[in-house]
Amino acid sequence: MIIREATIQDLPGIMAIEASCFINDAWSEEVMLSELQAPHTFYVVTVIDSEIVGYGGLSKLGQSKQADIQTIAVALDQRGKGIGKAIMKALTAKAVELGASEIFLEVRADNQVAQKLYEVFGFKKIGIRKKYYQPDGVDAFVMQTNLVRKEPLVLGIESSCDETGIGIVRGNTLLANVISSSMDKHAIFGGVVPEVAARAHLEALNPVLNEALDKAQVSLDEIDAIAVTNGPGLAGALMVGIGAAKALAVATGKPLYAVNHLVGHVAADILANGKVETPTIALLVSGGHTSLLLVRDLLSDVTLLGETIDDAAGEAFDKVARVLGLSYPGGPEIDKAALGGNPNAIRFPRGLSLPKDMAEHRYDFSFSGLKTAVARHVELAEINNEEINIADVAASFREAVVDVLITKAISACKEHGVNRLLLGGGVVANARLREVATERCAVEGIELRIPPFSLCTDNGAMIAVLGAQLISAGALPSDLDFSADSTLDVRKVQS
């Protein structure tokens, strides 16, 4: 199904539907033509197999804050396919774009199917025009909806791993970003334990929500919508946030948007930069993810170019830290240990970088072999009673991780003709990663974006701002029955 702005060439197709849908009160061809040509109207057609199957029009005069839906029709044999909904979505989005704050329409009192559709978009009956439709003598209901402001106030909930995050944004503006991490509770295990993380989320919910509302200086009543991460991530952890978000939405009557965690990381740059410049390559590196994305449009065109086929980069730091007798989380510990070390002392492997691997895994990562190589190096030294130079091992390991991450990210930029690279995820805290990214991007003439660390690590604000983007683009709320999806596809921005 394609939906596009109507042209006068569409007139015959439109009139065929007009005549069959509105038996006694169809518009004439002249009226329809003047509607299509008028400067204050916006008409769309829906096309399936190059045939027009539906259309709709919106009218908005000059600086008026009010828009009117002029007409909407779907061919009789094409109903029940969501075509009317798609047209309404396009018209609503256009009304927002044109700066309208409310939309009005008239609907036949006997057309309950249409009334249902309008109710989905928040329209309510506000009046009756008696015998408006002639010659049938049928009443019209006047319906109206308030459009969400272009800067919706959104509360975002994130619980996909070991951070309970609740953020509040107004449009692109950050109002609060509260994070409670259970990192310390995982320290003795050397990695995130899902059950420990899920328990901590449940405990953190109320204090984090209260602190976020307090910091943002807003009440729940004022919030326009709620957004929540529904994947990818740890299922049991995600479900805590989802259960809480659904109940909060029902209790407050606010719309709920289930959004993608990885796309949230990309959206975080909006809070730092006002917008996400597209197209961009995004490299997301954390304890749970190592993903390389091509983002042509934040809401409608995100592609996964590659990801780790075994450990996440952050996980590799944790595991190698344990091999070296360092504590958790491994990233900052290895950074410290690497001080003064020679990054070229030991040539550790760069996973999936050999020509034979590149054929199949051009943009994928693998860190499991690297971790084993470090362990082997340490064990051999022990067997041979040799002193290990921890600084050299840490620096060389870190260099291998950073090298492969940035090399693949930059080739993705070059091979896709994209001149921007955005970093996200907790491993961005690693100083060497930022350093190498900065150096190599400068050499290649690639614009590098690194949001502040509080927005790079998992957080609720990035979820809130992604929700705000969806709302501003006219997206409908999610149905309440969405589930936690631990392997949610990055192409699914909203569930």
Binding site: V193, V196, M239, A247, V250, A251, R322, E379, D481
Partner: protein
């Protein structure tokens, strides 16, 4: 007092009550879809009871014991519903609901309630009737291998936890109702410290 009661310790159960009078309830037996169901279950149950969320004075939540992942969905929902609707939040041991439904149907005597705790263990508690609408729990809740649970009186294993019973119990408990919302896990997270293994032979 208008009450919303929720339990996800086994299936998903939601009830709306006025004091101890049931106005509406929804029960889903399957024990895998708590996160999917919880939103609509609350919304639909309120609609069935013809109440708006702001009309709810109290949220009663089943604290378990039960499989952890599902149990948490209900408790998380109860916490944020209570904040959103500005209602008080109280908790009841989920096994008490089973005893309540059993004794209030006219049965008497000793009752052992057992539910599946997974990993070849059972959650269990022993009851001996009701005291002014509140189950008298003699032992438990606890977790044990089934062969180690002392069986006295009748054993109930094929059971459902109804949120309706939890709402009624909380009402009858009066001022002694539990206000500290802690899930009854009875088991530490399933994790052990890895000793680390050699990679070179």
């Amino acid at each position: 007092m208008k009450t919303l009661a929720i339990d996800t310790s086994l299936g998903t159960s939601v009830a709306v009550l006025n004091d101890d009078q049931l106005l509406a309830e929804l029960n889903f037996a399957d024990n895998m879809s708590h996160a999917e169901r919880i939103g609509d279950a609350i919304k639909d149950c309120l609609a069935k009871a013809k109440l708006k969320p702001v009309g709810i004075d109290r949220v009663v939540i089943g604290l378990g014991p039960g499989p952890f992942t599902g149990l948490r969905v209900g408790i998380a929902a109860a916490k944020f519903f209570a904040i959103g609707a500005n209602a008080e939040l109280v908790g009841v041991c989920s096994l008490d609901a089973i005893a309540y439904d059993y004794f209030s149907s006219g049965q008497s005597g000793m009752l052992l309630v057992e539910t599946d705790a997974r990993r070849k263990e059972h959650f269990w508690a022993v009851y001996e009737g009701l005291n002014q609408g509140v189950p008298i729990r003699l032992k438990g809740p606890n977790v044990a291998k089934p062969e180690l649970i002392e069986r006295t009186g009748l054993t109930l294993t094929d059971i459902t936890v109804t949120a309706a019973a939890l709402g009624k119990i909380a009402f009858h408990q009066g001022p002694s109702v539990i206000r500290e919302i802690e899930p009854i896990y009875l088991r530490e997270p399933d994790v052990s410290l890895s000793k680390g293994k050699k990679v070179s032979g």
